[in-house]
Symmetry: C2
Subunit: 465 residues, 2 copies
């Protein structure tokens, strides 16, 4: 239906996890590998059977926060098949019209909120939307020439045989008009993959909306996705999960903080469309809540266009609740949700009101590219994807230390080593149950959240070839 | 009226320049110094008489592009007096209520378009708006403590004697409520100055709007402003003028490109308020203009939320003209204006239509801070501000070479040396009139635009003390 042909389903059906509910006192840490049940038919081609992603995820269910683990995960190798009728340059010996494909490796973490419905849907379907978006690009990405501005399609000519004159125009080169030539933008292959991933998130979000309208798919989710395609990692992040590189190689992908807030676009939307604020919120920013008795005083503020701060005389309108309130992890949009990017949440409203929050959220991820072909990597270099349950209690340095400690204990070609790293990261972030709750080695509070971690090797034998 | 008390008017009335119209064949290069006529009463305090900014600007009128030079400039030392009735911590020996002041040094370049009205107004008034915005901050900036969230004012208590209960509440500390204390944002002094400059631009823009409504003040202008206050340079840029550091010291302020386009906020405004596009423009971006015959084809595009590119099937709506079209210097908003930041342009409409362009422009500058106290500078280190007439034909390296060449020929304490640098930069960017027009030393075309350059010394004797 979506053109996705799953070659390797390296990961269990996300729904499985909800059945493995463990009590708060015995959080279940699991890391299924080859033996895990597969939902999709598996067909392991030669090289992919040694795929390093088979052993690398560990997760733990939250310590009593909710009935279900709201984290979901997905790991796949997906074959993208060229759309039928798409014109490409046939490779030598390949018959015209022969369908060609591209493979991508895919890892996704989905941290649900207000229910696991959106997270489960996204974990099962987002890679298919990525695949669908890439189908137009199969022949473009295989061709070293710059991306054509206009796709040439056999399908259209076939579908509209009555428009012969247009079909004739099709035959002439489309980019030949000299006067406008210098105004054409060159679009890189990388930009096309970024655009495909961005649109896949949008399509996924639209699909969740349709499901939420017809049956109960609750809540929303943050999504952190890594796509490996043609030598490059594309890491797409919508929400407060994070990723970073660890190991000995250099340079590794820099740790990317979660992006819980896009305060500027949020406030600008409130400024441009004040009707969306429902007369309850103000798009202005203040360093703290204004009290009614402060009416008429001069207080610090800034508006949607300012980077600095200034004093303004407080008016009645300024007493409304701030559109975004709080700092860092505690920041909330409309006093309701702690992230401004993510999937789902279409029906989310401000408590006891009819004000929708979705117009202030973005389903588009921030996509960063890491070109694996530019650097030499050793088997100890990894990309770590983690939900906020990991990063809230374990910092970059501690993650790097765990990676090095664990990997040193295994042979470089032992694929289990990455799974053990992931397990170790999860176990350390959960901590040990003591009298005063779950405690880390340093006696600080462990994470009470769901924790999911992917450890993805960047170098070494059998690596994505 | 605005609390500005101009101590040193180091620069001639901007209006003077329009009278010095020179013919295209003999462009007038001028650099008035101490002898230049002053519009404001001058009172040179001790140190300021050796102020290095007295000799540093050179300008040339465009080679026939327009009747008047649309570039305007301003250079002032401004005393900011505390607002009467503002509560501050009186300095030792200073009587309570004694008015205190702060000095700032100010340089402004204003590159007008569609008339010089807005540029002339801004050159005469923007520094006064900066002064006005800083008046609330005099005692705050002099106090090393963090900025108070709420300004305590004697004036209000005096003005509202009938509201005794409130006055009583005033007496209690405002930030004492413990539960919310951790939510208070700390606002730095630097942020306050940035906010003051941002709001000064906004006030200036509002004033131009009022003038444009009542009498003819034509066009708009780009504004590039440097403010030196309490050891730091604040460089505020709204438009396509640019600045950069040159000399031997390190690190010098990095060259800041002009910011002709804010495509993302522009397109987002078009997306959120499509009625502003007047059914004539599309907020979508295409790599080139779409032709009618391409209807139904799949072509590259991106929308307001995407960083990457994708293909979409062209629909009727996509044939509308792009909200932003073209690249770099050639980019235009609504096919009309080449900058998206600046002052004025309130009455600007799309040609032969009723579509206003101002909603897509921003009057707020981008403000960068350069802390002079962090580094040691020698007399050869300068900050160069220039309108696009300079940077369009002279690159960073060439500017740095001119700076070094000229300064080497003068004693380090000769204040003329900076003026000669500015003159030399202007002369070289204009070039020499040959048969095939104005030509640079490398035989490339010289700038046909107005050219204005400030060369501001960062180190050396008599420096801002």
């Amino acid at each position: 239906m979506m053109g996705a042909e799953v070659l390797v389903s390296a990961w269990v059906d996300a729904g499985m996890w909800n059945e493995r509910r463990t009590s708060p006192s015995t959080p279940g840490v699991s890391s299924p590998g080859r033996g895990a049940p597969c939902r999709h038919p598996c067909s392991l081609p030669g090289a992919a059977s040694a795929h390093p992603s088979l052993f690398l995820l560990a997760r733990v269910i939250n310590s009593g926060k909710s009935q279900h683990n709201e984290d979901q995960a997905c790991c796949e190798v997906v074959l993208v098949q060229q759309r039928p009728g798409q014109r490409g340059n046939p490779a030598a010996g390949e018959p015209e019209g022969g369908r060609k494909g591209l493979c991508f490796h895919y890892w996704g973490l989905f941290d649900g909120h207000a229910g696991s419905g959106a997270a489960i849907m996204a974990s099962k379907l987002l890679h298919r939307h990525v695949c669908e978006q890439l189908r137009d690009l199969v022949h473009v990405l295989r061709d070293p020439a710059p991306a054509p501005i206009c796709l040439q399609s056999d399908a259209r000519a076939l579908a509209e045989p009555s428009r012969a004159p247009l079909a004739e125009q099709d035959a002439e080169p489309l980019n030949d008009a000299l006067p406008r030539f210098h105004l054409e933008k060159a679009v890189s292959h990388e930009s096309l993959v970024i655009g495909a991933i961005e649109n896949a998130f949008k399509q996924m979000d639209d699909q969740i909306e349709r499901e939420q309208a017809t049956r109960h798919v609750a809540g929303g989710c943050c999504a952190l996705v890594a796509v490996y395609l043609l030598g490059k990692f594309y890491v797409a992040n919508a929400g407060d999960s994070r990723y970073g590189g660890a190991g000995q190689g250099s340079p590794l992908p820099a740790r990317r903080r979660g992006i819980p807030a896009r305060p500027r676009p949020c406030r600008r939307a409130g400024f441009l469309r004040p009707e969306l604020l429902g007369n309850e919120f103000t798009h202005l920013e203040f360093p703290r809540r204004i009290q009614h008795k402060e009416l008429g005083k001069k207080m610090l503020y800034r508006d949607q266009s300012m980077n600095g701060w200034a004093y303004k005389k407080i008016e009645e309108d300024d007493l409304k609740f701030p559109l975004i309130y709080g700092e860092g992890k505690k920041a909330r949009v409309m006093a309701t949700i702690g992230v401004t990017r993510g999937l789902g949440d279409h029906d989310l409203k401000v408590y006891s009101s009819n004000i929708h929050i979705k117009p202030f959220l973005s389903c588009y991820p921030e996509v960063r590219v890491y070109d694996l072909t530019q650097y030499e990597h050793c088997p100890d270099d990894v990309l770590v994807l983690g939900t906020d349950g990991l990063w809230d209690v374990t910092n970059d340095k501690e993650v790097a230390e765990v990676v090095m400690d664990v990997l040193m204990g295994y042979e470089p070609n032992d694929p289990c080593r990455y799974t053990v790293v992931a397990q170790e990261l999860v176990v350390r972030s959960r901590g040990v149950l003591k009298e005063r709750g779950w405690r880390l080695a340093n006696d600080k509070l462990g994470s009470g959240d769901d924790i999911s971690v992917f450890v993805i090797p960047l170098g070494g034998p059998g690596n994505y070839t």
